[in-house]
């Protein structure tokens, strides 16, 4: 269970998040939509504390962090309960696929080597990379790298996985394999917050869609509600721009 209450963040004088509140239930998949610059990435980064929110409260499971006076130990605990899948994968470049997944198990969870290895192999097999354990990221395709990234995020068994446009850096033919993996873990009941422009994916997988604009949550609801019957003008405009299929059909 994730509760964000009144998260605000400014870069200098530029307010990027304005009092964002959002609850995500256990096992829920929330997709965040919004135009470029609306603050989606910043919101995810705040939840993982890669960005320090100016104010507000983040609660994950039994941990509550008041952002205006978060201690270092709170931040570490928060990060251990959340995991991030990055748009640019950000795999540890000097480590193999297996080592990428094992790293946090060894260093953060302090598991014995054999145990960490066993679990990492299992996860990599699950994302379809059982044959690439010893490959360095530079030897992997974008889709494969992103699947390692997902396995790495799963390794710590976080309470929520944050996906920031996980397929937008991929060649179109590689998008499917990554979405497939995300779909599969969503089915397992892992809580996820996903920023994506893949509307088909959002429709299938999301329990809830949140539309952001100008650092605010403008509208939220089931995929049906938001995609078929958007109430807000800004949502309608955005959806018209993002789903141009109609324009192509002759």
């Amino acid at each position: 269970m994730i509760q964000l209450s009144k998260i605000s963040k400014s870069f200098g004088r530029n307010p990027v998040l304005r009092d964002i509140s959002l609850n995500v239930g256990t096992g829920e998949v929330v997709v965040i939509l919004g135009a470029s610059g609306s603050g989606k990435t910043t919101l995810l980064r705040c939840i993982n504390y890669l960005e320090k929110p100016g104010s507000g409260e983040i609660a994950v499971g039994d941990l509550r962090v008041d952002c205006s006076r978060a201690r270092r130990s709170d931040i570490l605990r928060l990060r251990r309960k959340t995991a991030m899948v990055f748009q640019q994968y950000n795999l540890f470049r000097h480590k193999t696929a297996l080592e990428n997944v094992m790293e946090a198990l060894l260093v953060v969870k302090k598991l014995p080597l054999a145990e960490a290895r066993r679990r990492s192999v299992e996860l990599l097999e699950k994302v379809g990379l059982g044959a690439k354990l010893d490959a360095y990221p530079s030897r992997l395709s974008g889709g494969q790298q992103q699947r390692v990234g997902i396995a790495r995020a799963l390794a710590l068994e976080p309470e929520v996985i944050l996906f920031d446009e996980p397929t937008s850096a991929l060649d179109p033919e590689l998008v499917g394999e990554v979405l497939e993996v995300i779909r599969a873990i969503a089915k397992e009941g892992i809580t996820m917050i996903v920023v994506t422009h893949e509307m088909g994916f959002a429709r299938d997988v999301a329990n809830r869609v949140v539309f952001m604009d100008g650092g605010l949550i403008v509208e939220e609801g089931t995929p049906d509600e938001v995609f078929q019957r958007p109430r807000e003008e800004r949502t309608k405009q955005f959806l018209r721009r993002i789903t141009p299929e109609a324009n192509y059909s002759i």
């Binding site: 990060r79 990055f86 950000n90 260093v107 530079s138 710590l156």
Partner: protein
């Protein structure tokens, strides 16, 4: 004046005994310099109040002045400081008991530290910010992230420049003659002083330096190949 090829060999053999001196100065200054350089680089990168300004001043001053000057400043300045402190606190230690090579160790470490600070800094800056963020996102502490994720990659990126620093310090160690340390170059002068065959003696010294430099370059290339394997997509 005739070239005496056989004396090149004679001198060469007599210079071999000075190699340990040259190497020890190089190894000490490079190792200590690497530590100093890493600390100063981190102080500057993290903009630690006060200390980062001191670090910057240190780096610009040292890089802005000749290595020989550092040696002379240490040689004449350090004893004054030590003896004053000794008098103040009643130590029995006196600066005269510092061996000459000690001044070379200290001063060249300070020199190397400033140059290597820039090398380490460039190496760290070459590592993509996403690497640190990925480490933090899985709950690694700042220290763990730096030690396990950023430094290994920074080192790989910095290796060619680090090798250059080592070569620079190897060649720079010849300046130790100024405080009467007998390194390879100083030994060449001594060898030649009996028969004035300076050219042959220095030629022998040059050959030794060249050989050592080639060894360092080879070693660096080997290390680079191993450490940087991940960049070319090599498999472990």
């Amino acid at each position: 004046m005739q070239l005496d090829p056989s004396f090149i060999w004679t001198a060469f053999v007599q210079l071999l005994g000075a190699i340990p001196t040259t190497l020890s100065i190089t190894v000490v200054s490079v190792s200590a310099g690497f530590l100093i350089g890493t600390v100063t680089a981190l102080l500057r990168l993290y903009r630690v109040p006060v200390l980062s300004q001191i670090a910057s001043a240190y780096v610009t001053f040292i890089r802005g002045t000749p290595m020989l000057t550092h040696l002379l400043l240490i040689y004449f300045g350090l004893p004054m400081i030590i003896d004053a402190l000794a008098a103040q606190f009643g130590w029995s230690f006196r600066a005269v008991s510092i061996p000459m090579i000690g001044f070379a160790y200290i001063s060249f470490s300070i020199t190397a530290g400033a140059y290597m600070s820039e090398v380490v800094r460039a190496g760290i800056q070459a590592v993509d910010r996403g690497q640190l963020e990925a480490a933090q996102s899985v709950g690694m502490t700042q220290i763990q992230s730096l030690r396990r994720i950023v430094f290994p990659q920074a080192l790989a990126a910095a290796l060619p420049n680090l090798a250059n620093s080592v070569i620079g310090m190897l060649h720079g160690s010849t300046l130790a003659f100024a405080v009467s340390v007998v390194d390879i170059n100083a030994q060449a002068q001594i060898v030649a002083s009996t028969n004035w065959k300076f050219f042959e003696a220095y030629l022998a010294a040059a050959l030794i330096f060249w050989g050592l430099t080639v060894l360092i370059e080879r070693a660096a290339a080997l290390i680079e190949k191993r450490v940087g394997a991940y960049n070319r997509g090599g498999v472990a």
